[in-house]
Symmetry: D2
Subunit: 144 residues, 4 copies
Protein backbone atom coordinates (compact mmCIF):
# COMPACT_ATOMS: atom_id res chain seq x y z
CA UNK A 1 0.00 0.00 0.00
CA UNK A 2 3.00 2.31 0.41
CA UNK A 3 3.20 3.15 -3.28
CA UNK A 4 -0.57 3.67 -3.42
CA UNK A 5 -0.53 5.90 -0.37
CA UNK A 6 2.23 7.96 -1.97
CA UNK A 7 0.14 8.39 -5.10
CA UNK A 8 -2.83 9.49 -3.00
CA UNK A 9 -0.79 11.92 -0.97
CA UNK A 10 0.42 13.56 -4.17
CA UNK A 11 -3.15 13.84 -5.46
CA UNK A 12 -4.38 15.32 -2.21
CA UNK A 13 -2.10 18.27 -2.76
CA UNK A 14 -3.68 19.21 -6.09
CA UNK A 15 -6.66 21.60 -5.85
CA UNK A 16 -9.74 20.62 -7.82
CA UNK A 17 -12.86 18.48 -7.72
CA UNK A 18 -11.01 15.26 -6.76
CA UNK A 19 -9.70 16.96 -3.68
CA UNK A 20 -13.22 17.81 -2.47
CA UNK A 21 -13.54 14.04 -2.04
CA UNK A 22 -9.97 13.05 -1.14
CA UNK A 23 -10.05 15.32 1.87
CA UNK A 24 -12.90 13.28 3.38
CA UNK A 25 -11.81 9.81 2.21
CA UNK A 26 -9.81 7.44 4.41
CA UNK A 27 -7.81 4.58 2.90
CA UNK A 28 -9.12 1.20 4.05
CA UNK A 29 -7.74 -2.07 2.75
CA UNK A 30 -6.66 -3.44 -0.62
CA UNK A 31 -7.02 -7.11 -1.46
CA UNK A 32 -4.48 -7.79 -4.21
CA UNK A 33 -5.80 -11.25 -5.05
CA UNK A 34 -9.42 -10.14 -5.48
CA UNK A 35 -8.50 -6.59 -6.63
CA UNK A 36 -10.88 -5.03 -4.09
CA UNK A 37 -10.16 -1.60 -2.62
CA UNK A 38 -12.14 -0.25 0.33
CA UNK A 39 -12.15 3.32 1.50
CA UNK A 40 -14.30 4.97 4.15
CA UNK A 41 -15.81 8.39 4.65
CA UNK A 42 -17.89 10.14 7.27
CA UNK A 43 -20.54 11.90 5.15
CA UNK A 44 -19.79 15.64 5.36
CA UNK A 45 -22.42 18.38 4.97
CA UNK A 46 -20.43 19.72 2.00
CA UNK A 47 -21.31 16.61 -0.07
CA UNK A 48 -24.99 16.53 0.95
CA UNK A 49 -28.20 17.64 -0.74
CA UNK A 50 -30.82 19.90 0.85
CA UNK A 51 -32.12 16.93 2.86
CA UNK A 52 -28.66 16.50 4.46
CA UNK A 53 -28.07 13.12 2.86
CA UNK A 54 -25.17 12.28 0.55
CA UNK A 55 -25.89 13.87 -2.86
CA UNK A 56 -26.49 11.50 -5.80
CA UNK A 57 -23.83 13.33 -7.77
CA UNK A 58 -21.39 12.92 -4.90
CA UNK A 59 -22.15 9.18 -4.85
CA UNK A 60 -21.50 9.03 -8.60
CA UNK A 61 -18.22 10.86 -8.04
CA UNK A 62 -17.22 8.46 -5.26
CA UNK A 63 -17.87 5.55 -7.66
CA UNK A 64 -15.67 7.32 -10.22
CA UNK A 65 -12.85 8.30 -7.86
CA UNK A 66 -12.55 5.14 -5.77
CA UNK A 67 -12.72 2.81 -8.79
CA UNK A 68 -10.05 4.92 -10.48
CA UNK A 69 -7.81 4.43 -7.46
CA UNK A 70 -8.61 0.71 -7.47
CA UNK A 71 -7.38 0.50 -11.07
CA UNK A 72 -4.14 2.23 -10.10
CA UNK A 73 -3.85 0.02 -7.01
CA UNK A 74 -3.74 -3.07 -9.18
CA UNK A 75 -0.33 -1.93 -10.49
CA UNK A 76 0.61 1.44 -8.93
CA UNK A 77 4.04 1.69 -10.51
CA UNK A 78 3.13 0.96 -14.09
CA UNK A 79 -0.59 1.66 -14.63
CA UNK A 80 -1.00 4.18 -17.48
CA UNK A 81 -3.50 7.06 -17.19
CA UNK A 82 -7.12 6.16 -17.92
CA UNK A 83 -10.23 8.14 -18.83
CA UNK A 84 -13.91 7.48 -18.12
CA UNK A 85 -15.99 5.81 -20.82
CA UNK A 86 -19.23 4.90 -19.04
CA UNK A 87 -20.48 5.33 -15.49
CA UNK A 88 -23.78 4.11 -14.08
CA UNK A 89 -25.19 4.21 -10.59
CA UNK A 90 -28.30 2.71 -8.97
CA UNK A 91 -29.51 4.44 -5.81
CA UNK A 92 -30.94 2.04 -3.24
CA UNK A 93 -30.91 4.10 -0.04
CA UNK A 94 -29.80 7.37 1.50
CA UNK A 95 -26.75 8.05 3.68
CA UNK A 96 -27.29 10.90 6.17
CA UNK A 97 -24.70 13.47 7.16
CA UNK A 98 -22.36 12.12 9.84
CA UNK A 99 -22.84 8.47 8.83
CA UNK A 100 -19.69 6.45 8.21
CA UNK A 101 -19.91 4.82 4.80
CA UNK A 102 -17.66 2.25 3.15
CA UNK A 103 -16.89 2.43 -0.55
CA UNK A 104 -15.81 -0.95 -1.92
CA UNK A 105 -14.52 -1.05 -5.46
CA UNK A 106 -13.64 -4.21 -7.38
CA UNK A 107 -11.57 -4.25 -10.56
CA UNK A 108 -13.42 -6.87 -12.63
CA UNK A 109 -10.96 -6.87 -15.50
CA UNK A 110 -8.08 -4.84 -16.85
CA UNK A 111 -7.60 -5.55 -20.52
CA UNK A 112 -5.32 -4.07 -23.11
CA UNK A 113 -7.56 -1.06 -23.69
CA UNK A 114 -10.37 -1.14 -21.18
CA UNK A 115 -10.78 -1.51 -17.43
CA UNK A 116 -14.07 -2.63 -15.89
CA UNK A 117 -14.93 -1.89 -12.27
CA UNK A 118 -17.81 -2.48 -9.91
CA UNK A 119 -18.37 -0.34 -6.82
CA UNK A 120 -20.75 -0.53 -3.87
CA UNK A 121 -21.32 2.01 -1.10
CA UNK A 122 -22.50 0.61 2.23
CA UNK A 123 -23.82 2.46 5.28
CA UNK A 124 -22.62 1.75 8.82
CA UNK A 125 -25.15 -1.08 9.18
CA UNK A 126 -23.61 -2.74 6.11
CA UNK A 127 -26.73 -2.02 4.05
CA UNK A 128 -26.31 -1.07 0.42
CA UNK A 129 -26.61 2.64 -0.35
CA UNK A 130 -25.74 2.54 -4.05
CA UNK A 131 -24.13 0.32 -6.64
CA UNK A 132 -22.14 1.57 -9.57
CA UNK A 133 -20.21 0.49 -12.61
CA UNK A 134 -17.34 2.44 -14.16
CA UNK A 135 -15.60 1.56 -17.43
CA UNK A 136 -12.34 3.32 -18.30
CA UNK A 137 -10.15 3.51 -21.38
CA UNK A 138 -6.47 2.95 -20.70
CA UNK A 139 -4.02 5.14 -22.57
CA UNK A 140 -1.24 2.65 -23.17
CA UNK A 141 1.62 3.92 -25.24
CA UNK A 142 1.83 2.37 -28.67
CA UNK A 143 4.44 -0.38 -28.83
CA UNK A 144 7.39 1.55 -30.20
CA UNK B 1 -39.78 30.88 -16.02
CA UNK B 2 -40.52 33.22 -13.10
CA UNK B 3 -41.65 30.43 -10.79
CA UNK B 4 -38.67 28.30 -11.81
CA UNK B 5 -36.22 31.14 -11.26
CA UNK B 6 -37.72 31.67 -7.80
CA UNK B 7 -37.21 27.99 -6.99
CA UNK B 8 -33.61 28.21 -8.15
CA UNK B 9 -32.91 31.37 -6.19
CA UNK B 10 -34.14 29.67 -3.03
CA UNK B 11 -31.91 26.65 -3.68
CA UNK B 12 -28.88 28.83 -4.32
CA UNK B 13 -29.12 30.08 -0.77
CA UNK B 14 -28.78 26.62 0.75
CA UNK B 15 -25.20 25.48 1.42
CA UNK B 16 -24.27 21.99 0.19
CA UNK B 17 -23.19 20.03 -2.84
CA UNK B 18 -25.94 21.39 -5.14
CA UNK B 19 -24.72 24.88 -4.49
CA UNK B 20 -21.20 24.02 -5.71
CA UNK B 21 -22.90 23.65 -9.10
CA UNK B 22 -25.68 26.25 -8.86
CA UNK B 23 -23.16 29.00 -8.28
CA UNK B 24 -21.65 28.35 -11.72
CA UNK B 25 -24.84 27.50 -13.64
CA UNK B 26 -26.74 30.06 -15.68
CA UNK B 27 -30.37 29.53 -16.60
CA UNK B 28 -30.85 29.25 -20.37
CA UNK B 29 -34.20 28.50 -21.94
CA UNK B 30 -37.08 26.17 -21.21
CA UNK B 31 -39.22 24.75 -24.01
CA UNK B 32 -42.55 23.83 -22.41
CA UNK B 33 -43.85 21.93 -25.40
CA UNK B 34 -40.78 19.70 -25.76
CA UNK B 35 -39.93 19.78 -22.03
CA UNK B 36 -36.30 20.74 -22.76
CA UNK B 37 -34.32 22.84 -20.28
CA UNK B 38 -30.96 24.34 -21.20
CA UNK B 39 -28.48 25.79 -18.77
CA UNK B 40 -24.94 27.00 -19.39
CA UNK B 41 -21.73 27.06 -17.40
CA UNK B 42 -18.20 28.29 -17.89
CA UNK B 43 -16.13 25.32 -16.64
CA UNK B 44 -14.50 26.44 -13.35
CA UNK B 45 -11.22 25.05 -12.01
CA UNK B 46 -13.10 23.91 -8.89
CA UNK B 47 -15.03 21.29 -10.92
CA UNK B 48 -11.99 20.06 -12.87
CA UNK B 49 -9.71 17.04 -12.54
CA UNK B 50 -5.91 17.20 -12.42
CA UNK B 51 -5.82 17.69 -16.20
CA UNK B 52 -7.93 20.87 -15.84
CA UNK B 53 -10.90 19.41 -17.69
CA UNK B 54 -14.40 19.03 -16.26
CA UNK B 55 -14.34 16.06 -13.83
CA UNK B 56 -16.40 13.00 -14.78
CA UNK B 57 -18.10 13.12 -11.40
CA UNK B 58 -18.95 16.77 -11.96
CA UNK B 59 -20.46 15.86 -15.35
CA UNK B 60 -22.53 13.14 -13.65
CA UNK B 61 -23.65 15.69 -11.06
CA UNK B 62 -24.62 18.16 -13.80
CA UNK B 63 -26.72 15.42 -15.44
CA UNK B 64 -28.36 14.81 -12.04
CA UNK B 65 -28.92 18.46 -11.10
CA UNK B 66 -30.07 19.89 -14.43
CA UNK B 67 -32.45 17.00 -15.15
CA UNK B 68 -33.89 17.40 -11.65
CA UNK B 69 -34.59 21.05 -12.41
CA UNK B 70 -36.09 20.06 -15.78
CA UNK B 71 -38.54 17.79 -13.94
CA UNK B 72 -39.54 20.64 -11.63
CA UNK B 73 -39.74 23.01 -14.60
CA UNK B 74 -42.42 20.86 -16.19
CA UNK B 75 -44.79 21.86 -13.36
CA UNK B 76 -42.94 24.13 -10.90
CA UNK B 77 -45.92 24.80 -8.64
CA UNK B 78 -47.12 21.26 -8.12
CA UNK B 79 -44.25 18.84 -8.81
CA UNK B 80 -43.67 16.64 -5.72
CA UNK B 81 -40.14 15.89 -4.49
CA UNK B 82 -38.31 13.14 -6.37
CA UNK B 83 -35.28 10.95 -5.63
CA UNK B 84 -32.70 9.38 -7.91
CA UNK B 85 -33.20 5.77 -9.00
CA UNK B 86 -30.64 5.29 -11.77
CA UNK B 87 -28.08 7.55 -13.40
CA UNK B 88 -25.81 6.68 -16.30
CA UNK B 89 -23.33 8.77 -18.24
CA UNK B 90 -21.26 8.13 -21.38
CA UNK B 91 -18.16 10.28 -21.76
CA UNK B 92 -17.42 11.24 -25.37
CA UNK B 93 -15.02 14.17 -25.00
CA UNK B 94 -13.39 16.51 -22.51
CA UNK B 95 -14.34 20.10 -21.64
CA UNK B 96 -11.38 22.23 -20.56
CA UNK B 97 -11.43 24.85 -17.84
CA UNK B 98 -12.82 28.16 -19.13
CA UNK B 99 -14.91 26.55 -21.88
CA UNK B 100 -18.57 27.51 -22.03
CA UNK B 101 -20.69 24.38 -22.01
CA UNK B 102 -24.40 23.91 -22.52
CA UNK B 103 -26.35 21.33 -20.54
CA UNK B 104 -29.57 20.34 -22.30
CA UNK B 105 -31.98 18.16 -20.39
CA UNK B 106 -35.14 16.63 -21.83
CA UNK B 107 -37.95 15.18 -19.72
CA UNK B 108 -38.88 12.09 -21.73
CA UNK B 109 -41.83 11.11 -19.57
CA UNK B 110 -43.33 11.91 -16.19
CA UNK B 111 -45.52 9.07 -15.07
CA UNK B 112 -47.42 8.45 -11.86
CA UNK B 113 -44.32 7.15 -10.05
CA UNK B 114 -41.30 7.62 -12.28
CA UNK B 115 -39.73 10.41 -14.31
CA UNK B 116 -37.34 9.65 -17.18
CA UNK B 117 -34.86 12.24 -18.42
CA UNK B 118 -32.15 12.48 -21.04
CA UNK B 119 -29.32 15.00 -20.80
CA UNK B 120 -26.52 16.06 -23.13
CA UNK B 121 -23.59 18.36 -22.44
CA UNK B 122 -22.17 20.23 -25.44
CA UNK B 123 -18.98 22.24 -25.72
CA UNK B 124 -18.84 25.70 -27.30
CA UNK B 125 -18.42 24.17 -30.77
CA UNK B 126 -21.72 22.29 -30.23
CA UNK B 127 -19.85 18.96 -30.04
CA UNK B 128 -21.08 16.37 -27.57
CA UNK B 129 -19.09 16.11 -24.35
CA UNK B 130 -21.26 13.57 -22.55
CA UNK B 131 -24.71 12.03 -22.62
CA UNK B 132 -26.61 10.91 -19.59
CA UNK B 133 -29.83 9.37 -18.44
CA UNK B 134 -31.45 9.97 -15.06
CA UNK B 135 -34.52 8.16 -13.72
CA UNK B 136 -36.23 9.52 -10.62
CA UNK B 137 -38.95 8.23 -8.32
CA UNK B 138 -41.68 10.79 -7.58
CA UNK B 139 -42.98 10.92 -4.03
CA UNK B 140 -46.62 11.63 -4.72
CA UNK B 141 -48.81 11.72 -1.66
CA UNK B 142 -51.09 8.74 -1.28
CA UNK B 143 -54.62 9.51 -2.38
CA UNK B 144 -56.21 10.35 0.94
CA UNK C 1 -36.95 -24.08 -4.24
CA UNK C 2 -40.11 -26.11 -4.93
CA UNK C 3 -42.36 -23.09 -5.26
CA UNK C 4 -39.76 -21.36 -7.48
CA UNK C 5 -39.38 -24.40 -9.69
CA UNK C 6 -43.15 -24.54 -10.08
CA UNK C 7 -43.22 -20.90 -11.16
CA UNK C 8 -40.47 -21.59 -13.70
CA UNK C 9 -42.17 -24.68 -15.07
CA UNK C 10 -45.32 -22.65 -15.68
CA UNK C 11 -43.33 -19.96 -17.47
CA UNK C 12 -41.53 -22.49 -19.65
CA UNK C 13 -44.88 -23.49 -21.13
CA UNK C 14 -45.65 -19.97 -22.40
CA UNK C 15 -44.33 -19.20 -25.91
CA UNK C 16 -42.47 -15.92 -26.32
CA UNK C 17 -39.10 -14.29 -25.89
CA UNK C 18 -38.60 -15.46 -22.29
CA UNK C 19 -38.93 -19.03 -23.43
CA UNK C 20 -36.06 -18.64 -25.93
CA UNK C 21 -33.91 -18.30 -22.80
CA UNK C 22 -35.76 -20.55 -20.34
CA UNK C 23 -35.31 -23.51 -22.64
CA UNK C 24 -31.53 -23.25 -22.29
CA UNK C 25 -31.34 -22.18 -18.63
CA UNK C 26 -30.78 -24.64 -15.80
CA UNK C 27 -31.69 -23.79 -12.22
CA UNK C 28 -28.64 -23.70 -9.97
CA UNK C 29 -28.83 -22.67 -6.34
CA UNK C 30 -30.61 -20.01 -4.34
CA UNK C 31 -29.08 -18.54 -1.20
CA UNK C 32 -32.00 -17.17 0.84
CA UNK C 33 -29.84 -15.33 3.32
CA UNK C 34 -27.78 -13.48 0.71
CA UNK C 35 -30.60 -13.40 -1.88
CA UNK C 36 -28.31 -14.80 -4.60
CA UNK C 37 -29.72 -16.93 -7.41
CA UNK C 38 -27.43 -18.84 -9.77
CA UNK C 39 -28.50 -20.41 -13.04
CA UNK C 40 -26.34 -22.02 -15.72
CA UNK C 41 -26.53 -22.32 -19.48
CA UNK C 42 -24.49 -23.94 -22.22
CA UNK C 43 -24.26 -21.16 -24.81
CA UNK C 44 -26.43 -22.23 -27.78
CA UNK C 45 -25.85 -21.12 -31.37
CA UNK C 46 -29.34 -19.61 -31.36
CA UNK C 47 -28.25 -16.92 -28.86
CA UNK C 48 -24.94 -16.15 -30.60
CA UNK C 49 -23.78 -13.39 -32.93
CA UNK C 50 -22.05 -13.94 -36.27
CA UNK C 51 -18.78 -14.67 -34.44
CA UNK C 52 -20.47 -17.57 -32.60
CA UNK C 53 -20.15 -15.92 -29.21
CA UNK C 54 -23.05 -15.07 -26.91
CA UNK C 55 -24.83 -11.99 -28.35
CA UNK C 56 -24.67 -8.78 -26.29
CA UNK C 57 -28.45 -8.52 -26.49
CA UNK C 58 -28.76 -12.08 -25.23
CA UNK C 59 -26.47 -11.21 -22.31
CA UNK C 60 -28.66 -8.18 -21.54
CA UNK C 61 -31.74 -10.44 -21.67
CA UNK C 62 -30.10 -12.95 -19.32
CA UNK C 63 -29.42 -10.11 -16.87
CA UNK C 64 -33.09 -9.11 -17.17
CA UNK C 65 -34.56 -12.61 -16.93
CA UNK C 66 -32.40 -14.11 -14.19
CA UNK C 67 -32.62 -11.02 -11.96
CA UNK C 68 -36.40 -11.05 -12.41
CA UNK C 69 -36.47 -14.65 -11.19
CA UNK C 70 -34.19 -13.71 -8.30
CA UNK C 71 -36.72 -11.07 -7.23
CA UNK C 72 -39.51 -13.66 -7.32
CA UNK C 73 -37.29 -16.17 -5.52
CA UNK C 74 -37.00 -13.82 -2.56
CA UNK C 75 -40.70 -14.38 -1.84
CA UNK C 76 -42.20 -16.69 -4.51
CA UNK C 77 -45.67 -16.88 -3.00
CA UNK C 78 -46.32 -13.21 -2.45
CA UNK C 79 -44.05 -11.17 -4.76
CA UNK C 80 -46.21 -8.84 -6.91
CA UNK C 81 -45.48 -8.42 -10.62
CA UNK C 82 -42.67 -6.02 -11.47
CA UNK C 83 -41.61 -4.12 -14.59
CA UNK C 84 -38.20 -2.99 -15.79
CA UNK C 85 -37.12 0.57 -15.05
CA UNK C 86 -33.41 0.60 -15.94
CA UNK C 87 -31.00 -2.02 -17.20
CA UNK C 88 -27.28 -1.59 -17.79
CA UNK C 89 -24.61 -4.05 -18.85
CA UNK C 90 -20.81 -3.83 -19.11
CA UNK C 91 -19.19 -6.32 -21.47
CA UNK C 92 -15.82 -7.58 -20.27
CA UNK C 93 -15.27 -10.74 -22.34
CA UNK C 94 -16.89 -13.08 -24.83
CA UNK C 95 -18.49 -16.47 -24.21
CA UNK C 96 -18.20 -18.85 -27.19
CA UNK C 97 -20.87 -21.29 -28.32
CA UNK C 98 -20.77 -24.48 -26.28
CA UNK C 99 -19.26 -22.83 -23.19
CA UNK C 100 -21.02 -23.41 -19.89
CA UNK C 101 -21.73 -20.05 -18.27
CA UNK C 102 -23.05 -19.22 -14.81
CA UNK C 103 -25.44 -16.34 -14.28
CA UNK C 104 -25.37 -15.11 -10.69
CA UNK C 105 -27.98 -12.56 -9.68
CA UNK C 106 -28.11 -10.78 -6.32
CA UNK C 107 -31.13 -8.91 -5.04
CA UNK C 108 -29.53 -5.87 -3.42
CA UNK C 109 -32.73 -4.45 -2.01
CA UNK C 110 -36.47 -4.86 -2.34
CA UNK C 111 -38.20 -1.74 -1.16
CA UNK C 112 -41.83 -0.69 -1.18
CA UNK C 113 -41.76 0.36 -4.82
CA UNK C 114 -38.41 -0.58 -6.30
CA UNK C 115 -36.19 -3.65 -6.48
CA UNK C 116 -32.45 -3.33 -7.17
CA UNK C 117 -30.45 -6.26 -8.55
CA UNK C 118 -26.88 -6.95 -9.56
CA UNK C 119 -25.98 -9.74 -11.99
CA UNK C 120 -22.72 -11.24 -13.20
CA UNK C 121 -22.13 -13.80 -15.93
CA UNK C 122 -19.04 -16.00 -15.55
CA UNK C 123 -17.46 -18.35 -18.04
CA UNK C 124 -16.38 -21.91 -17.18
CA UNK C 125 -13.01 -20.65 -15.89
CA UNK C 126 -14.89 -18.39 -13.45
CA UNK C 127 -13.79 -15.28 -15.35
CA UNK C 128 -16.24 -12.41 -15.68
CA UNK C 129 -18.05 -12.17 -19.02
CA UNK C 130 -20.38 -9.30 -18.20
CA UNK C 131 -21.83 -7.41 -15.27
CA UNK C 132 -25.28 -5.92 -15.19
CA UNK C 133 -27.67 -3.94 -13.07
CA UNK C 134 -31.46 -4.16 -13.32
CA UNK C 135 -33.91 -1.94 -11.43
CA UNK C 136 -37.59 -2.92 -11.39
CA UNK C 137 -40.78 -1.21 -10.25
CA UNK C 138 -43.01 -3.39 -8.09
CA UNK C 139 -46.74 -3.16 -8.69
CA UNK C 140 -47.98 -3.50 -5.15
CA UNK C 141 -51.70 -3.16 -4.70
CA UNK C 142 -52.76 0.01 -2.98
CA UNK C 143 -53.55 -0.52 0.68
CA UNK C 144 -57.30 -1.05 0.56
CA UNK D 1 -28.03 3.30 -48.66
CA UNK D 2 -27.15 0.69 -51.30
CA UNK D 3 -23.96 -0.41 -49.60
CA UNK D 4 -25.75 -0.51 -46.23
CA UNK D 5 -28.61 -2.55 -47.64
CA UNK D 6 -26.10 -4.99 -49.11
CA UNK D 7 -24.46 -5.39 -45.70
CA UNK D 8 -27.85 -6.02 -44.11
CA UNK D 9 -28.88 -8.53 -46.75
CA UNK D 10 -25.69 -10.50 -46.09
CA UNK D 11 -26.34 -10.47 -42.34
CA UNK D 12 -29.94 -11.59 -42.81
CA UNK D 13 -28.65 -14.82 -44.34
CA UNK D 14 -26.65 -15.80 -41.24
CA UNK D 15 -28.57 -17.81 -38.63
CA UNK D 16 -28.28 -16.64 -35.02
CA UNK D 17 -29.66 -14.17 -32.52
CA UNK D 18 -29.24 -11.11 -34.79
CA UNK D 19 -31.45 -12.75 -37.35
CA UNK D 20 -34.30 -13.12 -34.85
CA UNK D 21 -34.43 -9.33 -35.01
CA UNK D 22 -33.37 -8.67 -38.62
CA UNK D 23 -36.26 -10.72 -39.90
CA UNK D 24 -38.74 -8.29 -38.32
CA UNK D 25 -36.81 -5.03 -38.89
CA UNK D 26 -37.47 -2.77 -41.87
CA UNK D 27 -34.88 -0.25 -43.03
CA UNK D 28 -36.16 3.31 -42.69
CA UNK D 29 -34.00 6.33 -43.44
CA UNK D 30 -30.41 7.35 -42.79
CA UNK D 31 -29.45 10.98 -42.30
CA UNK D 32 -25.76 11.22 -43.18
CA UNK D 33 -25.30 14.72 -41.85
CA UNK D 34 -26.81 14.00 -38.42
CA UNK D 35 -25.75 10.32 -38.42
CA UNK D 36 -29.29 9.19 -37.51
CA UNK D 37 -30.58 5.80 -38.65
CA UNK D 38 -34.25 4.87 -38.32
CA UNK D 39 -35.66 1.38 -38.65
CA UNK D 40 -39.19 0.16 -38.00
CA UNK D 41 -40.72 -3.06 -36.73
CA UNK D 42 -44.20 -4.39 -36.12
CA UNK D 43 -43.84 -5.99 -32.66
CA UNK D 44 -44.05 -9.77 -33.17
CA UNK D 45 -45.29 -12.22 -30.52
CA UNK D 46 -41.90 -13.95 -30.69
CA UNK D 47 -40.19 -10.90 -29.11
CA UNK D 48 -42.87 -10.37 -26.43
CA UNK D 49 -43.10 -11.23 -22.74
CA UNK D 50 -46.02 -13.08 -21.12
CA UNK D 51 -48.06 -9.86 -21.18
CA UNK D 52 -47.71 -9.71 -24.98
CA UNK D 53 -45.67 -6.53 -24.92
CA UNK D 54 -42.16 -6.15 -26.34
CA UNK D 55 -39.73 -7.87 -23.92
CA UNK D 56 -37.23 -5.65 -22.10
CA UNK D 57 -34.41 -7.88 -23.31
CA UNK D 58 -35.66 -7.53 -26.87
CA UNK D 59 -35.68 -3.74 -26.47
CA UNK D 60 -32.09 -3.89 -25.18
CA UNK D 61 -31.18 -6.05 -28.19
CA UNK D 62 -32.83 -3.58 -30.58
CA UNK D 63 -30.76 -0.78 -29.01
CA UNK D 64 -27.65 -2.94 -29.54
CA UNK D 65 -28.43 -4.06 -33.09
CA UNK D 66 -29.76 -0.83 -34.59
CA UNK D 67 -26.98 1.31 -33.09
CA UNK D 68 -24.43 -1.18 -34.44
CA UNK D 69 -25.90 -0.74 -37.91
CA UNK D 70 -25.88 3.03 -37.44
CA UNK D 71 -22.14 2.87 -36.73
CA UNK D 72 -21.58 0.88 -39.91
CA UNK D 73 -23.88 3.22 -41.84
CA UNK D 74 -21.59 6.14 -41.04
CA UNK D 75 -18.93 4.56 -43.28
CA UNK D 76 -20.19 1.22 -44.64
CA UNK D 77 -17.16 0.48 -46.81
CA UNK D 78 -14.43 1.09 -44.28
CA UNK D 79 -15.86 0.78 -40.76
CA UNK D 80 -13.85 -1.85 -38.83
CA UNK D 81 -15.65 -4.40 -36.63
CA UNK D 82 -16.68 -3.20 -33.19
CA UNK D 83 -17.64 -4.87 -29.93
CA UNK D 84 -19.97 -3.79 -27.14
CA UNK D 85 -18.47 -2.07 -24.11
CA UNK D 86 -21.51 -0.71 -22.24
CA UNK D 87 -25.23 -0.77 -22.89
CA UNK D 88 -27.92 0.88 -20.81
CA UNK D 89 -31.65 1.15 -21.32
CA UNK D 90 -34.40 3.09 -19.51
CA UNK D 91 -37.91 1.71 -19.92
CA UNK D 92 -40.59 4.40 -20.09
CA UNK D 93 -43.58 2.56 -21.60
CA UNK D 94 -44.71 -0.72 -23.12
CA UNK D 95 -45.19 -1.59 -26.81
CA UNK D 96 -47.92 -4.20 -27.38
CA UNK D 97 -47.79 -6.97 -29.96
CA UNK D 98 -48.82 -5.71 -33.38
CA UNK D 99 -47.77 -2.10 -32.70
CA UNK D 100 -45.49 -0.48 -35.25
CA UNK D 101 -42.47 0.93 -33.48
CA UNK D 102 -39.66 3.14 -34.76
CA UNK D 103 -36.09 2.65 -33.58
CA UNK D 104 -34.03 5.80 -34.05
CA UNK D 105 -30.31 5.54 -33.43
CA UNK D 106 -27.88 8.46 -33.43
CA UNK D 107 -24.11 8.09 -33.65
CA UNK D 108 -22.95 10.75 -31.20
CA UNK D 109 -19.25 10.31 -31.89
CA UNK D 110 -16.89 7.90 -33.60
CA UNK D 111 -13.42 8.31 -32.24
CA UNK D 112 -10.21 6.44 -32.82
CA UNK D 113 -11.13 3.66 -30.39
CA UNK D 114 -14.67 4.20 -29.22
CA UNK D 115 -18.08 4.84 -30.76
CA UNK D 116 -20.90 6.42 -28.73
CA UNK D 117 -24.53 5.99 -29.74
CA UNK D 118 -27.93 7.05 -28.45
CA UNK D 119 -31.09 5.17 -29.37
CA UNK D 120 -34.80 5.80 -28.79
CA UNK D 121 -37.74 3.52 -29.51
CA UNK D 122 -41.06 5.26 -30.22
CA UNK D 123 -44.54 3.75 -30.48
CA UNK D 124 -46.94 4.56 -33.32
CA UNK D 125 -48.18 7.67 -31.48
CA UNK D 126 -44.58 8.94 -31.39
CA UNK D 127 -44.40 8.44 -27.62
CA UNK D 128 -41.15 7.21 -26.12
CA UNK D 129 -41.04 3.51 -25.25
CA UNK D 130 -37.41 3.29 -24.19
CA UNK D 131 -34.13 5.14 -24.43
CA UNK D 132 -30.76 3.50 -24.63
CA UNK D 133 -27.07 4.18 -24.85
CA UNK D 134 -24.53 1.83 -26.44
CA UNK D 135 -20.76 2.32 -26.40
CA UNK D 136 -18.61 0.16 -28.68
CA UNK D 137 -14.88 -0.45 -29.02
CA UNK D 138 -13.62 -0.23 -32.60
CA UNK D 139 -11.02 -2.80 -33.65
CA UNK D 140 -8.89 -0.65 -35.90
CA UNK D 141 -5.83 -2.33 -37.29
CA UNK D 142 -2.59 -1.08 -35.82
CA UNK D 143 -0.86 1.47 -38.04
CA UNK D 144 1.51 -0.75 -40.01
Amino acid sequence: MTMLNNVLEQWKGIPGFDNEFFKYLEMGTYNHEKKILTMTMVVPQELCNVLSTLHGGAMATLVDVVSSIAIIASDPERMPPSVSVDLSVSYAATAPVGEKITIESTVLKIGKNLAFTDTAIYNNHNKIVCKGSHTKFIHRKAAL
